[in-house]
């Protein structure tokens, strides 16, 4: 029986052209799905480390479906945001995450909700994985009172417990993340801070300042460089003298990870988080990933890269397809099941869109609120001297 499955699995591998070697664990009957399977994952390049993450990982059917769902929600949410932006319902900056879903999903799977996470402006994916609903994210993008920041933050400034945004200034979030890690160590709570930045931000001076202090003080900080090959319109080759971002921590150990494979991301993050948690100090992970959209909604994304390149990644390396094919070829789920999940997600995103486009804008009385925390109300000058506005905490 096992050999039959192996034959099927190998055939599927040849058909999809994917190196998804798998050892299949067979369940009770032909009609049931495989509940658990083991997969080979790509070896990670190491810097300053004797050993790295394992080369094999196990995935349960439930975990797989959850991963699929999480990534598909992010994908559909970002595509919806694209649509709303083109309809001018979303304004200003909108940096979309589609293509990079495996990073957010894989990282979250390897840490606890009580761990901390901070990222830059391409943040909608992490906002979702850190617990904010699609509804609250889209309503924040459309600037309504039901948004996670009551419409006052927008795309780049969404927050949740243990999620510190969403940060607009490139690189500024990295010292912030090191500071959150300092608080973890200070409070002795065994938590870590995952601090994300991009290949563009990797050349910021303040990042190296943060690296130095994090290593010096052995802060439990997991630095992650999401290398999507372009900092706005500048390719990594044109921006960095060294594109080995996992080595840029110099005295800090680093791993370079296939960021399109959610299982690889999960294993690497587990490895790295363990490194931090056991007091060995900070570590860098470079996730090699790709964004389908341009830098932001005002960038078509084809003046500095070719459409062929984008198409190539979509067809050969899409993170959601990769997972789906793995699960299908290991008989962990059926095509119909995935279709059903897609339909559910579509409805979820449509409902959220309905809310985000019909909810009211924040009331004008809110304009001056939230200047100071825990403060008696104060008066704020409006646009002219007779406009005496009120600010509450």
């Amino acid at each position: 029986m096992t050999s039959v499955w192996r034959f099927v699995s190998n055939a599927l591998c040849r058909i999809t052209g994917r190196k998804v070697g798998s050892t299949v664990v067979v369940s009770n009957s032909l009609n049931e799905f495989t509940t658990r399977a083991s997969f080979d994952i790509k070896k990670c390049d190491l810097h300053g480390l004797e050993a790295g993450p394992p080369l094999k990982t196990e995935l349960s059917r439930d975990e797989g479906l959850r991963f699929y769902r999480t990534m598909q929600v992010m994908r559909r949410m970002e595509l919806k945001a694209d649509q709303l932006y083109k309809q001018k319902i979303i304004r200003g900056f909108c940096h979309l995450y589609d293509g990079q879903e495996a990073c957010a999903a894989g990282v979250e799977a390897a840490i606890d909700p009580s761990d901390h996470l901070i990222t830059a402006y391409r943040a909608h994916g992490y906002t979702y994985t850190r617990g904010v609903s699609v509804r609250e994210i889209l309503a924040e993008l459309t600037g309504r009172r039901g948004g996670v920041a009551k419409g006052k933050g927008g795309s780049m400034h969404m927050y949740a417990p243990n999620f510190y945004g969403g940060n607009g200034i490139v690189g500024a979030q990295v010292p912030l993340g090191a500071g959150i890690a300092l608080a973890c160590k200070y409070q002795g709570n065994n938590q870590i801070c995952v601090t994300l930045y991009g290949d563009g931000a990797a050349n910021q001076g303040q990042i190296f300042e943060a690296f130095n202090m994090a290593a010096l003080w052995k802060l439990p900080c997991l630095f992650i460089c999401e290398n999507n090959k372009y900092g706005m319109g500048t390719s990594v080759e044109r921006a960095s003298a060294s594109t080995d971002y996992y080595k840029r921590g110099h005295f800090m150990p680093g791993i370079r990870v296939d960021g399109m494979d959610v299982l690889c991301v999960r294993e690497a993050t587990k490895f790295a988080a363990d490194h931090c948690r056991t007091g060995k100090g900070p570590i860098i992970m470079e996730l090699q990933t790709y964004r389908y959209h341009g830098h932001s909604m005002s960038d078509p994304g084809v003046s500095y890269r070719t459409r062929e390149e984008i198409q190539e990644v979509r067809s050969k390396n899409d993170p959601i397809s990769l997972l789906k094919e793995r699960m299908l070829s290991s008989n962990m789920a059926s095509v119909e099941e995935f279709k059903e999940i897609d339909i559910e997600i579509r409805k979820e995103v449509e409902d959220a869109t309905q809310f985000a486009t019909s909810d009211s804008e924040p009331p004008l009385e809110e304009l001056c609120n939230h200047i100071f925390s825990n403060n008696p109300p104060l008066q704020v000058r409006g646009t002219h001297p007779w406009a005496k506005l009120k600010s509450s905490s």
């Binding site: 912030l176 200047i371 001297p385």
Partner: protein, 376 residues
């Protein structure tokens, strides 16, 4: 906990004390009355003389003891006892966890401080001088000041940024800038500028207990100056409310508004003017943002004349803001003459002593300005 060796003052302190003594003597005809005003006001039985430096040290010590989330980080704050000895003795008492020496990385450590505040600690981030805060200003404004608003109240940032601000003695252009106007421009920040020891202690304690980002502007030339501190102000719970000015001297003829070191200059000028029958009301702003305009307006409605005094540059400065506010409020109709601003000279700070002395407001400039404003 303050000085292990109270009779030993580093060279800079002795220079400062000589400077403040010269200051008294310059204020002129009657140095004794100036000293009397400074040292012997009030007859509280257990009053003591405390330098501004020691008052700041006490404030931090008391708050570190009171709340274990409070910690201090900055360059040389620990083993060096503070570049200006303000944190003397704290590292010995509290150790590496609470008093942290940082590398020379302002942007990095300011960001780390802000991040730690977001995650539940209450950092005191020291800039060796506020000139160096320019390297880190993005973290102060974009990461600290704006976050509570951007998050619609989800994320508070309880942090104090403190250090010496404004001109010192002979440190030249890159080390002498006043940042009161820069930081006070920004909503989401509180900006505090103490003058004497009581201010220093009460306001720093209030700043540390405040759940918001506070920029605390000290003055290096004031560190070594001693003031009397009453028994009440020595209490571990003594705080001064942020956002409230203090009337240091009552008067009927003209209102002098100032902050930091120049409050002392105003009082010295007032003492001289009193001999000529001109009674000045001297207001110590204490907080620049949020500004206590009401106290200034009430005073102007009494005296009908206003002179602002500051060390910073005139353009877009603290005095300029006061002028604008007075014009927009009820006090404008009570002015008998336009508001006068006494400010630093609009130049980078020179080095040579004679030039430096003429780059900042002197007591004679205040006296001259008052007389011009009163048309006498």
């Amino acid at each position: 906990m303050t000085s292990q060796n109270p009779t030993f003052y580093p060279a800079e302190d002795r220079v400062k004390m000589a400077a403040s003594l010269r200051c008294f003597l310059r204020s002129g005809k009657n140095a004794v009355s100036a000293l009397r005003r400074q040292a012997f006001h009030g007859s509280a039985p257990a009053a003591v003389q405390v330098t501004v430096r020691d008052a700041l040290n006490q404030a931090m010590d008391e708050e570190l003891e009171r709340d274990e989330r409070v910690f201090l980080l900055g360059e040389e704050v620990a083993q060096y006892d503070g570049a200006y000895k303000v944190s003397r003795g704290l590292w010995k008492k509290y150790g590496d966890k609470r008093i942290i020496d940082t590398p020379i990385s302002e942007m990095g450590f300011a960001g780390i401080a802000v991040g730690s505040a977001m995650a539940g600690l209450r950092p005191i981030c020291e800039f060796m001088t506020f000139n160096f805060s320019m390297q880190a200003i993005d973290q102060v404004i974009n990461s600290a000041a704006k976050t509570y608003y951007m998050s619609a109240g989800l994320q508070a940032v309880p942090i104090v940024f403190r250090g010496p601000n404004g001109s010192s003695a002979g440190v030249a252009a890159q080390h002498s800038q006043c940042f009161a106007a820069w930081y006070s421009h920004c909503p989401g920040l509180k900006v505090v500028s103490p003058w004497n020891s009581e201010d220093a202690k009460g306001l720093l304690k209030a700043a540390i207990r405040d759940d918001n980002p506070v920029v605390f502007l000290e003055n290096e030339l004031m560190y070594g100056v001693a003031f009397e501190m009453s028994e009440e102000t020595q209490s571990k719970d003594f705080t001064i409310p942020i956002g409230k000015a203090k009337i240091e001297r009552q008067g009927n003829h003209v209102t002098l508004v100032s902050h930091s070191r120049y409050v002392g200059h105003c009082l010295d000028a007032a003492a001289v003017l009193a001999k000529e029958g001109i009674e000045c009301e001297v207001i110590n702003m204490r907080t620049i943002r949020p500004m206590d305009v009401e106290t200034i307006e009430t005073s102007v409605m009494k005296t009908n004349h206003l002179v602002t005094v500051e060390g910073g540059w005139p353009q877009f400065g603290v005095g300029a803001e006061i002028c604008a506010r007075i014009m927009e409020g009820p006090a404008f109709n009570y002015l008998d003459s336009p508001v006068t601003r006494v400010t630093g000279v609009d130049i980078p700070m020179p080095y040579a002593k004679i030039l430096e002395d003429h780059s900042v407001p002197q007591i004679k400039d205040i006296i001259f300005s008052v007389k011009k404003t009163l048309n006498v």
